[in-house]
Symmetry: C2
Subunit: 354 residues, 2 copies
Amino acid sequence: MERRRDDGIGLDELALAARNHGMPLEAMRADITPAGMHYLLMHYDVPFVDPSSWALSLGGFQRPMDLTLDELRARPAETAPVTLECAGNGRAMFETRPLSQPWLLEAVGTAEWTGTPLAPLLEEAGIPDDTIEIVFTGLDRGLEGGEESSYERSLPIAEALRDDVLLVYEMNGQPLLPQHGAPLRLVVPGWYGMTHVKWLGRIAPTSERFEGYQQAVAYRLRSHEDEPGRPLERMRVRSLMVPPGLPTFPERERVLSAGPTTLEGRAWSGSGAIERVQVSVDGCAAWTDAELEPSPAPYAWHRWTFDWTAPPGEHDLACRATDAAGATQPLDAEPNLGGYANNAVHRVHVTVTS
Amino acid sequence: MERRRDDGIGLDELALAARNHGMPLEAMRADITPAGMHYLLMHYDVPFVDPSSWALSLGGFQRPMDLTLDELRARPAETAPVTLECAGNGRAMFETRPLSQPWLLEAVGTAEWTGTPLAPLLEEAGIPDDTIEIVFTGLDRGLEGGEESSYERSLPIAEALRDDVLLVYEMNGQPLLPQHGAPLRLVVPGWYGMTHVKWLGRIAPTSERFEGYQQAVAYRLRSHEDEPGRPLERMRVRSLMVPPGLPTFPERERVLSAGPTTLEGRAWSGSGAIERVQVSVDGCAAWTDAELEPSPAPYAWHRWTFDWTAPPGEHDLACRATDAAGATQPLDAEPNLGGYANNAVHRVHVTVTS
């Protein structure tokens, strides 16, 4: 199933790229990504759920319960901007990749999510003493390796009890759209996108490590098929640049007039705030600090800007971020079997005309 | 620039597929396509327009005027469901194609558009006697063949004066999203998507045939570079099927349990109502009529259904539509230089398990 970059993208990969979608990078001009510009990955088909006949099942707790959408909406509500990025973002930039969604750079977005905190609900339901993880089951179904299954992921109990983990029913002040998980999805700030289970049907405690497909097989950093690998969890530090100037069509090369201009973009990390963004205008030889704005919430992206007097000619721009944990984006990311977590510096070639 | 299907999709084509997006075919379960599932093609970058400092300019008329969004909203409003399809839908299904957005099948959607009719506004502005076309200029800018230009298209005066042509500021009951043309776009029911100019800045009459890039070079049916070709106008008759059963990931093959099932999909044409949809369950050898529902508006898609008792095994399903003008979808569409208007029958392979 290995694909090489030189071989082009297969029709099977294109079929995934046609239904899933990335965020056009100019959307980073906005603090909050508009609905329909936010990235979207759907493993199976989008379920169209009738909210009037739907209920969230909390099974296996000391006091099992079913909750309707109205009951969930009647609970305390919180709203937070949260940056979500797919763990496979950058997959198609690796020299080799597996058959999967061929993301280039755009699998990210920052929406304002509204929902009710998960932890108080789990406490009310009563968490059995031997619980080590909480399992979240979506209503979306498909076949993985010949086995029919629902999309399911687990969280360690300590993560599930964080006070910023939400059961979300609104995005950007509107009812959740079908493709974003209506009527209810999970949002776990800081974690890669596969964690934020959409179309939630059931939440259950478990006393054993959850070994479902999306946890034990997919979404792990591995070099070989026969090693268990490390699970993907928090988003690696990353920055992206709004491609400056005007695009050509259909090549999407960038053309800019000479003179003063302001480069801008966003930076984020699942391991704390961004401490620094640097820009290179000479192909990653020299780096200069960009202006970094504070982020509006602990797990929402920061805006950065960089004033540049563009001289005529061909230029290779780049940006890289460093987070509070001290991690900096690499020039090239380490290859891995699943094509995950490619947070290499973002490079943008521009032609500056006099 | 010619690409062959066997050569795979280039990274340049993937970059287009990552930012533009198709409608996941299961969205055809809904009469109205939710925001964010509707197809989207952006030639250049999405402009983020501040509606408070924006006005629509009607220049070159007998009584030129500028209209704010509030002034446009104060005019008579109409709402209609309209099916929009990209003229390049199906491009990547041709054996050869040019470098452009590599659509497979999903470049379609049906939204409920709200706006004010164009014709009364043109009459108020006063159409010069020698007018033969109306030119619509978007605020999106880019380079085509080295020339910087705005996205511009014209309509013959008779089409511009149709009473169902709207200047649209709402989609599905919400303010137009940035990527769908906020604050104002054109909607010309029945025509391919390139006509519905987004981010409208200016409307002007012309006494000569408009020869802008998007009119005279792009969006024409041609066999050779040196022929002028025929302009693309109304959408060809087409039907699509919701892929039945469950998908595998990542291959997106379809697996269905044996027994009674209902196939469903949508059908539309820019040349009048759909008269007939037929389904084949044996690889296009025999065709049987599907149940066809009336369409909710003259240029919105029809829903169709087909009851099938699925026997175990491998099956090649297909659907094809016939419109009121008598046109039927072909088994294979005629190749053309731009890869346009590929309305070949939709084929879906399914594995039925006992």
